[in-house]
């Protein structure tokens, strides 16, 4: 079974530029998560989708971050404009459902450096 795919793996941009990340979850997984992991910290949930609907985006900085999952499969996360403090690893994860104790499967992440 293929795992969660993310691209690109690395991205370097200058502040105020835009950037987009792509995630393809495990086939059949209804729930998709985007996390931000700053160096030395644990992952922080940015947004959670079930199919193509948003379940939780309470920690998403909506003035600069946006995410979509139009067909309920793959997803994109965009930052516009980027700030220095956005430098982090952006992890995508998926799970079969939305119930408690669902196992989340993580992709390898996209490492973003904002200069």
């Amino acid at each position: 079974e293929a795992g969660v795919a993310q691209s690109p793996r690395y991205k370097i941009i200058e502040k105020r530029q835009s950037v987009a990340f792509w995630c393809n979850p495990i086939s059949g997984h209804a729930t998709l998560y985007w996390y931000q992991q700053i160096l030395g910290q644990g992952p922080k949930l940015l947004i959670q989708f079930q199919n193509n609907g948003v379940v939780d985006d309470s920690q998403l900085p909506k003035d600069r971050f946006s995410a979509e999952r139009l067909k309920g499969v793959d997803s994109t996360l965009k930052i516009q404009p980027a700030k220095l403090e956005d430098s982090a690893v952006y992890l995508c994860a998926s799970s079969q459902g939305l119930a408690g104790r669902e196992t989340q499967y993580f992709g390898p992440g996209t490492r973003l450096l904002v200069l």
Binding site: L45, G100, R101, Q104, Y105
Partner: protein, 112 residues
């Protein structure tokens, strides 16, 4: 404010030693998970504990959930270099929907 506090933040030990890492909170969780994350990879689930006082074993790893479901520990017996990595605990809360909150992790380095 970190909802889940992990300690120690960093641990460097010799192969063959035993170690325990801790995950503490003032909040009650419906379940708690332990993940291991290696450089350049996403976290991989090791175990989920659900019941207060529950103990689970995974080869040389022993996981315990506190009686009050606020804290957990991970004990590794006879550590090996392959155990090197970032160990993350994550608590799940049911607040009208299930939400997972991660601790900052314990970075373990096992020297051969």
């Amino acid at each position: 404010t970190q909802l889940l506090e992990q300690s120690p933040q960093f641990l460097s030990i010799q192969e063959g030693e035993n170690l325990t890492v801790y995950c503490n909170s003032s909040s009650v969780f419906s379940s708690l998970q332990w993940y291991r994350q290696e450089p350049g990879e996403g976290p991989v689930l090791l175990v989920t504990v659900v019941t207060g006082g529950e103990v689970k074993k995974l080869k040389r790893l022993t996981f315990q959930f506190g009686d009050a479901r606020k804290d957990s520990s991970l004990h590794i017996t006879a550590a090996q270099p392959g155990d090197t990595g970032l160990y993350l605990c994550a608590g799940e809360k049911n607040t009208g929907g299930f939400k997972t909150i991660f601790g900052a992790g314990t970075r373990l380095f096992v020297k051969a």
